[in-house]
């Protein structure tokens, strides 16, 4: 039986709403650490929403790229070995495209405000539109 609502995203929103409501509540080191705490909760929230899709996409691409099946971390370790032993060309378009897609999906969780993420997604949007 599933847990009762509010669900985990709603709970996080409740926590974030409380923490963000009074920015004057803390000062000095406490305020600094509170701001970091809020940003980590935001990361968690984005990861709860998008983390499963990231892993599934990464795993599907890795399966094709390394020609094996397994979970994403095992396939990633395998890809690292292939690159390290030069058994895959580091200029290979499929490799670079996979890495870029994966890194952008990670940044969508870790820091979608990062300049290089914004540049990449704006250009992709412009090219697609």
């Amino acid at each position: 039986m599933p847990v009762n609502p509010p669900d985990r995203l709603q709970l996080l929103d409740a926590v974030l709403g409380t923490l963000e409501s009074d920015p004057q509540a803390a000062s000095g080191v406490a305020a600094y650490e509170a701001r970091i705490a809020i940003s980590l909760l935001r990361i968690l929230r984005r990861e709860l929403e998008a983390g499963d899709a990231l892993l599934a996409g990464e795993r599907a691409r890795l399966t094709t790229l390394v020609g094996q099946d397994g979970d994403a971390s095992a396939l990633n370790a395998r890809l690292c070995e292939l690159i390290r032993r030069r058994q895959i060309d580091i200029a290979d378009e499929r490799l670079l495209s996979h890495l870029r897609t994966t890194v952008l999906a990670k940044l969508a969780i870790d820091n979608p405000r990062y300049s290089a993420y914004r540049r990449a997604t704006e250009r992709a949007g412009a090219a697609g539109g």
Partner: protein, 333 residues
């Protein structure tokens, strides 16, 4: 050490090193960096109603482990002193402590007023004129640093690029987290290891955030703890990392300047053409290095060595360096 004891030992160190009798006024601890405790005080010299007062900074090593071959505080003070003596804009060093001072490893330097926050240096309206000057000033100061007579310096690390890369490799492997983008960067760098022309003083951490800026531009260079002997172009590459652009990705030099302007001014100052592929090598190397430093910080939280929330957050900044590495390697500007 409490502040009364610190003040007494500082006065003693002034007597011992400079033969001068100074009073230590208004001693206050400032927000500390990762590896050092930093205090500010007023050096009060002379008697009477109007003694000479000068604001000073004292940095004392606190024992926290540093990433990759950072200099001890004593050597750092000696490098900064030599740079100041050579006419490089960096705060004057009054004292470099020895064992007799009872202050551990550390040094005293002049306090220099100005802006150090990269976020403000890239955006503050009152620094608009300074931003126009900064790129050229940085290039000329770097040329002066690289041209320093190395005989004036204490012994410094002098690893060839291959050894520097090996050291990063070992650090990365020690965390047990495999990242294909980092593997790609290691392979890319391995294929392009440069031959280094002679041994020049390299600042090692010359970037927006580590210098003081006033309305006339660059006022003083700080943080010599990564100084070493090597390829001067390492400093040019490091200066352009996206991590030091503070969101202004379209201005590669510290978030305020253009790469071509930095290289052009450096070529003019050194009268030597710059191999831009080597600058690119060091920008990729520096980005990988910063990424591995982020991993290291994150790992300090994971292992419980430094259980503070900031370290946990930095661990999640590794992905920023991954996209930066891909952009550099694929030539995305």
């Amino acid at each position: 050490m409490d502040s009364a004891e610190l003040a007494e030992r500082l006065a003693g160190a002034y007597r011992r090193h400079a033969g001068s009798s100074v009073r230590i006024g208004d001693l206050q601890r400032l927000s500390a960096g990762a590896s050092a405790e930093t205090w500010r005080f007023e050096r009060v010299a002379g008697a009477g109603d109007e003694p000479a007062r000068e604001p000073m900074i004292v940095q004392i090593f606190t024992g926290e482990k540093q990433f990759t071959a950072a200099l001890d505080k004593r050597t750092q003070g000696l490098v900064q002193r030599a740079a100041h003596d050579a006419g490089i804009p960096t705060p004057r060093v009054d004292l470099v402590f020895d064992a007799e001072d009872g202050l551990g490893e550390g040094f005293v330097s002049a306090f220099v007023a100005g802006e150090t926050l990269g976020q403000r240096i890239t955006r503050a309206p009152e620094l608009a004129a300074a931003r126009e000057l900064l790129t050229g000033q940085c290039a000329r100061v770097l040329a002066e640093i690289h041209g320093m007579d190395t005989a004036t310096l204490p012994p410094l690390p002098a690893e060839p690029p291959a050894e520097m890369l090996d050291r990063l490799r070992r650090a990365h492997d020690s965390f047990g987290v495999r990242l294909p983008v980092f593997e790609l960067a290691f392979a890319w760098l391995q294929d392009r290891l440069p031959a280094v022309p002679g041994r020049h003083l390299v600042h090692g951490d010359f970037r927006n955030g580590n210098f003081i800026v006033g309305e006339q531009g660059l006022v003083a260079v700080l943080d010599w703890e990564a100084a070493h002997l090597g390829d001067p172009l390492e400093d040019l590459g490091w200066m352009c990392l996206n991590a030091w652009r503070f969101g202004r990705i379209e201005r590669p030099v510290g978030g305020f300047g253009a790469r071509d302007d930095l290289i052009g001014a450096y070529e003019a100052a050194t009268d030597t053409p710059v191999d831009t592929r080597r600058v690119r090598f060091w920008e990729v190397f520096g980005t990988l290095r910063w990424g591995i430093i982020c991993q290291w910080f994150g790992n300090q939280f994971i292992t419980g060595e430094v259980p503070v929330i900031e370290r946990a957050a930095i661990g999640r900044r590794v992905s920023e360096t991954e996209i930066d590495l891909l952009d550099l390697i694929e030539g995305v500007e």
